[in-house]
Symmetry: C2
Subunit: 492 residues, 2 copies
């Protein structure tokens, strides 16, 4: 049966694109954080949408599950296969069209995010989606997970940057929704159902994405702040004063900054004095003087007592150095020992309160734990990470992960927040979801899954537990073993 | 059976809120354009979400359809009941919360759009959704139809302004999705499924909406242009130069401008000379000098030969007078006789080509027909209206509506456009949809309808034909009678 399926696939795709050797499978069975290890019958590499559809149709007939892979850079185990066929989309890597007047780019799912950014740039436009793994993640995966990143404040998540999609459905039919329209009310919104569904409702094979005018000038500053509350006030003031020109407000408390200064080669302390918290602020302007504009705003913040100190990058190199501090945080954290990570969001107005409450609760639960919480403050999205106490045993610390999940997620939930802000649910949060999600919403999700993938072929066991399984049944028992060495982890 | 249902509803809502008198029903059976006339068992007026849920549950048990009504200002017959119970949401009219720091407002579905705008304004923020009927349409209807309007260019449609929803489902369950989060990837995107579903998948009872910083200054100008192509070039230049500060680019060719100058009391010709086309341009700035900025842009346009002439409003009153010309277009068109209307969109880059092709085709089909096409050029959304030839018989002209649908919609379709850009599908375009929509998309829509409303209780016969009916079976035969006198029509 399996043999016959693989022969069918090889006949269509060519034997070179139906991989079954252990070494070929290996990179598709591991995932970024090393939390899970999967298994698969084969990895197939279709070259176009028609071949993807062929593979899905064949697998559906044989009742064999399929898992779509782009760059396999996800952080929630959403791409780990547990049997079935992995469909690698890396050969669907064409930029089909760029239209600067229309401000759109049409790309295939396997395009690397950086390639999309570069194609937009070459056409004089901006594709703003930007995240740590942009050199290796693929746009199909960005859309399947509704990726966030550092430019959400002004430009939105991947969802807000998408005008149209092409999707292979669970039965192998192709939905051609590749529209480049700003207004289209001709029926239900199918596009947004597939975006963020993590490959469980359909496989995105191409997309029409929105471009934005390229800013004429940008400016970057680093602020020293008295507290998270001060950061919130400073953020509100900047947003109201700058509108959509405020393109980043990233929060970095004292501890993560000290960690990155300690471990990152060549890192330079951006401000002379010591502050409880810091913010990386970026503005983008269609006029040439973003620097002057930001300088005026910073002077006002200091005069109003909302910032203690600030430095404005005087060159592109200085701006990049400030961004490098921010972008290295997650990796540098690994040098301090074990990390327990939470990707959460609350309403922006409550982000300071969240930081206070969650920090106090974690410090009370484990004296000496070092809260290493940073992130997309202006989106209410905090990477609420915990670094092990100095001298603690790493494995013992990591074994407390479920305990800290409960502490942090309970607080997030009580504040009307989300326990899965920008990385998705995948496997790692699947069994947390029923605890916090409105049961009516979960029921709706199950009905949608049933309507679009009645045989349960698409990425089974992700986001929702398979029908019939209890909420605690993860696909493999050893999946819950704690987080291993994290030096290669580049979670945002 | 019916009697028993109405008694059940009266016992819960109070007899004063279960209306069955003909005069009470009348406003709920008519629709804006007079194209359809419905019938209903009763109009009920629940006071809160729990009462809406009670009504839906009771009706579902009795297999009686429900149609939700807000301001009943829709333009596609989406609110016309054909039997069943009309649920008027006008008593759900509380602004539940406004949070300027969070930049959100939480409102009930029955809030008049202007009330939402005013509540935001009172809190120092902007709720940008703006359309001709804003004094009487209700926000629940705006969301159910994913309303567009004049501020989409910078701020998006109703969809892009919505963070969270509360929805009563087909079985009377309430989904509480009232989240105020900028990032939330905790499962499938339910919100966008209900937005734009025209009451056929659920009844929106409340929403968390996004606010924006209020601009510090605005400026309005009126441009004289050589052609639609010149308008497109001018638009591209302004968008690239102004980015999100370009908040409107409305297109008005010579004929509609002459119509409005002829009929609108007090209208003043904005430019001395005669031009083939005109554009109303608005910019909004977080800085105080929007006027100076726009003036500089206009000078560049003229120097580059993209605009023939331009006038900059020197006061708020002058700006309002320019906007009044644009907003009166649809109404004034009625004074020239019968109007055949199309609400369509194409990719922005093709909007000039669309105008040329559709104009030529309509003029060839009926010599003397006066194309009165105007609208949201920057969104690719044109109200491609046709005014009867001078001296023609109105009824005979209007009888040609289906013929012109075919001409205009075929061109839209060939250009990858939408035959339902901002007003929705409702009844008026329901049977056009199967002709132009990807059959895979239609099949997905039917599966979603089946999953969320298996009994077909919610606004049956809208958007999709009821199961078992052929695509040509409208609920009442006389529904297809042509458009009557249009003087009260204020379609955007």
């Amino acid at each position: 049966m399996t043999h016959s399926l693989l022969a069918t696939l090889a006949a269509r795709l060519g034997p070179a694109h139906v991989l079954t050797d252990e070494t070929d499978l290996a990179p598709h069975l591991a995932e970024t954080r090393g939390l899970y290890h999967g298994r698969a019958l084969a990895v197939v590499r279709p070259r176009d949408t028609a071949e993807v559809a062929f593979v899905v149709r064949a697998c559906a007939s044989a009742q064999v599950p399929v898992v779509a892979h782009g760059g396999n850079t996800g952080l929630v185990g959403g791409g780990v296969p547990f049997g079935g066929v992995v469909i690698s989309l890396t050969r669907l890597d064409r930029v089909r069209a760029v239209d600067p007047l229309d401000a759109t780019i049409t790309v295939e799912a396997g395009c690397v995010l950086a390639t999309v950014q570069q194609a937009a740039d070459a056409a004089g436009m901006l594709f703003p989606l930007s995240l740590a793994s942009e050199g290796s993640c693929r746009i199909g995966g960005n859309l399947a997970t509704n990726a966030g990143g550092t430019a959400v404040l002004a430009y939105g998540n991947a969802r807000e940057l998408t005008l149209g999609l092409e999707v292979v459905l669970a039965d192998g039919q192709v939905w051609n929704g590749l529209r480049a329209l700003r207004k289209d009310n001709s029926g239900y919104d199918l596009k947004n159902l597939f975006i963020g569904s993590e490959g469980t409702l359909g496989i995105i094979t191409a997309a029409v994405l929105r471009l934005h005018p390229k800013p004429v000038s940008k400016a970057t500053a680093f602020l020293g702040l008295a507290s998270a509350r001060a950061a919130l006030d400073a953020f509100g003031r900047l947003r109201d004063g700058l509108g959509p020109r405020l393109t980043a407000f990233e929060y970095v408390p004292r501890f993560p900054l000290e960690v990155v200064l300690r471990h990152l080669p060549g890192a330079v302390r951006p401000l002379v004095g010591d502050h409880a918290a810091y913010a990386l602020v970026e503005i983008s302007s269609p006029a040439p003087d973003a620097g002057g504009e930001l300088e005026a705003q910073l002077a006002e913040l200091i005069e109003a007592g909302l910032a203690e100190d600030a430095v404005l990058a005087q060159s592109e190199a200085q701006g990049s150095a400030l961004w490098r501090l921010r972008e290295s945080l997650s990796e540098m954290q690994g040098y301090e020992g074990g990390s327990i990570k939470h990707d959460v969001s609350v309403p922006v107005s409550r982000v300071a309160e969240f930081l206070e409450r969650a920090t106090a609760a974690c410090e009370a639960a484990l004296p000496g734990v070092r809260v290493c919480a940073f992130g997309h403050f202006g989106d209410g999205n905090i990477h609420f990470n915990l670094t092990q106490p100095v001298g603690a045993e790493k494995a013992a610390f990591l074994a407390e992960w479920p305990h800290f999940n409960r502490i942090v997620h309970d607080i997030v939930h009580a504040m009307d927040g989300s326990i899965a802000a920008e990385h998705g649910v995948g496997l790692i949060k699947r069994d947390e979801l029923p605890r916090y999600k409105d049961p009516v919403a979960l029921d709706l999700m199950r009905r949608l899954k049933g309507a679009l993938d009645p045989k349960g072929i698409l990425n089974p066991g992700k986001v929702l537990a398979p029908a019939g399984e209890g909420p605690e049944a993860l696909p493999v028992a050893q999946a819950v073993r704690p987080y291993p060495a994290a030096r290669s982890d580049t979670a945002a």
